[in-house]
């Protein structure tokens, strides 16, 4: 095991040398050290690549990810709707390994010792770091929905809110549902990952029903008071495209489920579906709490917006969906990628004895499909504000599409190709 690791490091060293000559013309490059990144999603893959690229190979980066390939949540609703395949949303980690010299380890992190600056791995052994980046995404609070709190229940009532086997399984449930059946999707109270995602999913399932099972219905059980994102554009799509198919119910929090009958238990009511898709409330990925860093409301990580460093635990940076969001900031893959770059820039400054940049900027773009071709977007730009010590949305900037359109359907796929390459190629 140790020999293997050493050999891997030698390989990384050779790649670093090659890269230093490739990028030798750029400035800086004084940072050195070992950064361990936990989680290879939109945030983690980005920070790993940008640390290597911006340090010209000077900083060693180990990325620990439990899955063998990256599978994208954005675009996965099209797999559920039947117009894309898993292959379309799967990207290899080979680019990070071979082009950027990131050491990618397929494993799970079991514990973090923030004093000794080590992590321990499920496969055994530990690893030391100079700086640690946690990009753990979210884990689900199954205890909030008692009937879902077993592995058996979770294999029947799916969330499909992490792209992967559940995406495939939900598609299969929809395919085997009878014409005339009901699909219900339960949305947790905000904040949750991808605010427009559940409404997009409702559209794409309805689009599938309209073409293949026209007597079927889609019911949205929303724990929130109202549609949380792109409201006007979604409700227009529902009335224009899916009248009589999609039904929206606000203030309908799922408190429990009866697994045997696919029944959602609401506060005063029950709802029985043929396919029941429950997205449970989430919190920061479990490793955040296990590492002992401060969580707000026992759920989200409190970070310093100049560096993405935990406010409680020096040396640990946290990015992506796991953080307590800045005002109006969505939990999105695009935003996680932006956090990754902010963290990479700050870490390189800190590893070379400088302060992080005092004026970080992050921005978000999110495209939602309302059918196989038509798309609506929301965008926002968030600039650091020293007075409130957070990033604030720029007033008068950002916004939504004027109307759903096919042009943005093409742009959405262009976005996917470019962000996946920005993270992984």
């Amino acid at each position: 095991m140790m020999l293997m690791k050493r050999r891997d490091f030698l390989k990384v060293g050779a790649a670093a040398g090659a890269m230093a000559s490739l990028y030798g013309c750029a400035g800086g490059g004084k940072a050195s050290g070992h950064v361990v990144v936990v989680g290879g999603g939109y945030g983690g893959a980005t920070v790993a690549k940008y640390l290597r690229m911006w340090s010209e190979g000077g900083v060693q980066v180990t990325l620990i990810e439990r899955n063998p390939t990256f599978i994208s949540c954005p675009i996965s609703n099209l797999v559920i709707g039947g117009t894309k395949t898993m292959e379309d949303i799967t990207v290899s980690y080979d680019g990070l390994k071979n082009k950027w010299g990131v050491r990618v380890v397929q494993d799970d992190v079991m514990a973090v010792d923030s004093v000794k600056k080590t992590i321990s791995l499920k496969a055994g052994g530990s690893m030391s770091y100079d700086r640690l980046v946690l990009s753990p995404g979210v884990d689900f609070m199954f205890d909030q929905i008692p009937g879902l709190n077993t592995a058996d229940a979770q294999s029947k009532i799916l969330h499909a809110w992490k792209a992967g086997p559940q995406t495939v399984a939900l598609r299969k449930q929809l395919e085997s549902m009878k014409n005339g059946g009901t699909y219900a999707i339960a949305i947790p109270k905000a904040p949750y990952r991808c605010p427009p995602g559940p409404y997009e999913r409702a559209c794409l399932v309805a689009n599938y029903f309209k073409e293949h099972k026209p007597k079927s219905k889609v019911v949205i059980l929303d724990a929130n008071e109202d549609v949380m994102s792109k409201k006007g554009l979604f409700t227009k799509a529902w009335s224009d495209l899916y009248k009589g198919i999609i039904e929206y119910r606000n203030n309908s929090e799922v408190k429990d489920v009866e697994v045997g009958t696919n029944t959602a238990v609401l506060e005063f009511d029950k709802f029985k579906a043929d396919v029941l898709n429950v997205i449970p409330p989430h919190r920061a990925g479990d490793i955040a709490a296990k590492s002992g860093i401060k969580l707000i409301n026992n759920r989200w990580v409190d970070i310093n917006w100049l560096s993405m460093e935990s406010t409680s635990t020096p040396g640990i940076h946290v990015i992506g969906d796991a953080i307590f969001p800045a005002p109006t900031m969505p939990k999105s893959g695009h935003m996680a990628n932006q956090h990754g770059k902010l963290a990479a820039a700050a870490i390189l400054n800190m590893l070379s004895g400088q302060e992080p940049s005092p004026e970080p900027v992050v921005m978000n773009t999110c495209y939602s499909f309302v059918d196989a071709k038509n798309v609506i977007h929301v965008s926002s730009i968030h600039q650091y504000d020293a007075a409130t010590k957070t990033v604030q949305p720029v007033k008068g900037a950002g916004g939504v599409s004027a109307a759903r359109n096919e042009l943005e359907g093409k742009v959405a796929m262009g976005w996917a190709k470019n962000i996946w390459a920005d993270m992984l190629a």
């Binding site: 820039a345 940049s357 600039q383 599409s401 390459a421 920005d422």
Partner: protein
């Protein structure tokens, strides 16, 4: 109130110029916020339909961004995004992309 505004604006300008001096990588960092759609260092994925910005003449990039901001150039999304950055930031972004290959 009136005389206060230009002073506040001057203070902001002064702040902006000192912090730019403090962080030589500001242009690089700002340009990286564009990379999700326009590719790492402005090299968009070929065939993706997105504009590559790497190597684009600075004045050309700045003119495009100004036209997005003013609404002179119609766009699906860039008219909303360009408004989120200050002119000084857009200048740094355009400078960075002009220097990329």
């Amino acid at each position: 109130m009136k005389p206060f505004m230009p002073i506040a604006a001057l203070c902001l300008l002064a702040l902006a110029s000192t912090s730019q001096a403090a962080d030589p990588n500001l242009g690089r960092n700002l340009a990286a916020t564009c990379a999700n759609c326009h590719g790492t260092n402005g090299n968009a994925v070929k065939g993706s339909g997105m504009d590559s910005l790497a190597g684009m003449e600075k004045t050309k990039t700045l003119q495009k961004l100004a036209d997005f901001k003013s609404g002179d150039k119609p766009a699906s999304i860039m008219h909303q995004i360009a408004k989120g950055y200050t002119d000084a930031q857009l200048d740094l972004i355009a400078t960075y992309f002009a220097a990329q290959k």
